[in-house]
Symmetry: C2
Subunit: 152 residues, 2 copies
DNA sequence: TAAATCTGGATATTTGATGTCCAGGATTCG
DNA sequence: CGAATCCTGGACATCAAATATCCAGATTTA
């Protein structure tokens, strides 16, 4: 009955999305993103490809190629990124302990968990990359420019 | 940065808590609870012990012994059970990708995730075993008595 | 054409959940 | 008292999924 899972890949993906937002329209190779965060390049690639399949990120091959953010930051919610990387699983799978239990039609435990899961998703869907960007700028106005310089 | 994890043990624990609530003041051995749900007895034991350490459940050894719910159902929230079984982990651990990132003092991703996590916990803390009991009775008024009969 | 870069699948490694086992200790009952 | 019942807690085995690596194409730039 795993209700909510969240892997490290989401953290990486979010960082990369912000990085790409700051990089603007200059493609950034996966290798450079990985190096920037000290992450295994071959694995980060997988997260980026997932973001690509979700239409959040776009890629161009060849020299001077790399990844670009493919949507305006204020249209990409954190939920979008989580769903892209960890999959938009059917909310939660139940172990079906139905042997002689209280089961008639509906299950109280089931719905209670679904409700909590929904609250979580709603919260993630309420924030976008643009919000994160604004938060970072408030704390350190130079960070975006510095990151951009290091990546392009 | 695993934010929310939820294991199957929680589902089992919730089922057992409801069962014990219905069993009233008659102790139910772990073996019978396990058989009732078709679960591995040796492993269910672990969840029950966790519930015991959290003060949700009480145990009496010896013949005619077993487990009892140790608090009125309306005082046991789903969050209590989740925390007892899966641990009240520090909400979420961050991988610290701090190498050259936007880090100054606070982290936007961090706080956004913490907020979502909080929403999830709040939802779980808002419902108690008594609520679940009421839901089940509404769907099938006979279920509690039937379960009690099978367990005692 | 050569270099850079992505794509996608196969596979290995690691971690944590799941499941098992056993050697105690407490309690009840005869 | 002695035997049966039941819990406690730790050590250990197993399994699934996340994490990580590798490589053989495909695509674009120069
Ligand atoms: S009562 Fe049934 S549906 Fe609900 S969590 Fe348990 S097995 Fe799943
Ligand atoms: S920005 Fe820093 S604090 Fe925030 S999730 Fe990334 S590594 Fe953790």
């Amino acid at each position: 009955m795993v209700v909510v899972k969240m892997t490290e890949g989401v953290e990486w993906a979010l960082h990369c999305c912000l990085d790409l937002a700051w990089a603007g329209d200059t493609p950034v190779p996966a290798a450079r993103l990985a190096a920037h965060h000290g992450l295994p390049p071959a694995y980060l690639t997988k997260q980026l490809q997932a973001l690509g399949r979700a239409g959040i990120v776009r890629s161009t091959p060849g020299p001077r190629g790399g990844y670009l953010l493919d949507r305006p930051p204020h249209t990409v919610t954190l939920m979008d990124v989580v769903a892209a990387v960890d999959g938009a699983d059917p909310a939660f799978r139940c172990t079906e302990i139905r042997a002689g239990g209280p089961h008639t039609t509906r299950c109280a435990i089931d719905t209670a968990m679904a409700r909590a899961d929904l609250a979580w998703r709603r919260e993630l869907a309420a924030r976008t990359l643009a919000d994160l960007d604004a938060d970072v700028r408030r704390a350190d106005p130079d960070a975006p420019a510095a990151t951009r310089a290091r990546l392009t």
